[in-house]
Symmetry: C2
Subunit: 177 residues, 2 copies
C-alpha cells in the first residue's frame, strides 16, 4: 500500500520517463525534474531498481486498462490498432518497446519477464475475442498469434516511420470484415 506521496512522485516520474526513456534514466536528474531528491526516491522505493520496477508496473497498468476496456467479439483487432496508432499513445508505446527489448537483453533485474508477460496478456485478450469453436484449436492459436504479430509489427513500423496512413491501410486490409 503505497503512501500518497509515493504515488504522487511515481506519477511524476512516470511522466518523466515517458518523454526521456527508461534506459539511461538516473536518479539525480529525475529527482530534480520532478521536484524531489534522490534521498526521498530511495527512501520511498528502496533502490533505483525498486523505482524502475514500480515504473514498469505503472506502465503495465496503463496497458491492462486498455485490454480490459477493449471488449471481445469481432473487430477487436481493429479496435486495438486504433488504440495503438493513436498519436497520444506513442510515448507510452515507445516506452513499452524499450522495456520489451531490455527484458530480452538483460533477463535479470527489474525488467525480468516483461516481454513474455505482455505476449501472454495480449494473446489472452485475442483468445477471448475468438469464436468459441476455434478458441481451443491449433488453428485458433495460430490465428491469434498471427493477429498479435501483425499488430506489433505494424506498431514497430509506425513508431519508426510515423507513416500512419500506409501502416493503417496495411492493417486494415487484413481485417476489413
Amino acid at each position: 500500500m503505497p503512501s500518497a506521496r509515493e504515488t504522487e512522485l511515481l506519477e511524476a516520474a512516470y511522466r518523466y520517463v515517458l518523454t526521456h526513456g527508461l534506459a539511461d534514466v538516473s536518479l539525480r536528474p529525475l529527482a530534480a525534474a520532478i521536484g524531489s531528491s534522490t534521498r526521498v526516491l530511495l527512501y520511498l522505493f528502496g533502490s533505483k531498481e525498486g523505482l524502475v520496477k514500480a515504473l514498469l508496473a505503472r506502465a503495465r497498468a496503463d496497458e491492462l486498462v486498455l485490454l480490459a476496456d477493449i471488449g471481445t467479439g469481432p473487430g477487436v483487432v481493429a479496435r486495438l490498432w486504433e488504440w495503438l496508432s493513436a498519436p497520444a499513445h506513442r510515448p507510452l508505446l515507445t516506452l513499452w518497446l524499450e522495456a520489451y527489448a531490455r527484458s530480452l537483453v538483460e533477463p535479470d533485474g527489474p525488467w525480468a519477464g516483461f516481454a513474455r508477460a505482455t505476449v501472454e496478456d495480449w494473446l489472452e485478450v485475442l483468445r477471448a475475442a475468438q469464436p468459441e469453436d476455434v478458441r481451443d484449436t491449433a488453428a485458433g492459436l495460430a490465428s491469434r498469434t498471427r493477429e498479435l504479430a501483425l499488430l506489433r509489427g505494424a506498431l514497430l513500423d509506425l513508431l519508426a516511420t510515423g507513416d500512419g496512413e500506409r501502416v493503417t491501410s496495411a492493417v486494415g486490409a487484413s481485417f476489413a470484415g
Copy 2:
C-alpha cells in the same frame, strides 16, 4: 578504410555486444574482454560514439548480406522467416531490436535513423519480390507493409517466448502458397 587492427578489434567487440547487449556497454569491461584497452579503442574509433556507430554499421552489414542473398519472387516471406527464426541468429536479432528501440527513444547520437533505415531496407526487398503489376500500386504498398509487419511482430513474439512452433505455424498459415 579501416586498418587491419581496427577491423580485428571491431569484430571482437561485435562478438562481445552480441552477447552483452549494446545498451549499457562500457569501454573498460569491453576492452578487457577483447584483450585490448580503452586507450586503443579510443585511438582507433575516436570516441565511444564512434565505436558504437561502427558496431551498428557492422550489425547492419550482416542484415544487408541476408537481404542481398534472399532473392526475389514467390516465397520470400517464408525464406525471410526461416532466417529470422533460426536460433543461430537470435543474438543478432536481439541486438537489432535493442538498436531499433534505442533509436526511437534517443533520435540523436549514433543510433539516429536506425529504425527507419531498416524499415526501408526490408520494404524495398519485399517490393522487389512482388509481381510487377502490383509493385507500384497502393495495394502493393499495403501488401508488403503487411508482410513486413507480420515478420517483425512474429519476431518479437519469438524472441520473447522462444516458442518457435507456435509462431512459425502462425507465419506459415499466412503464406502457405
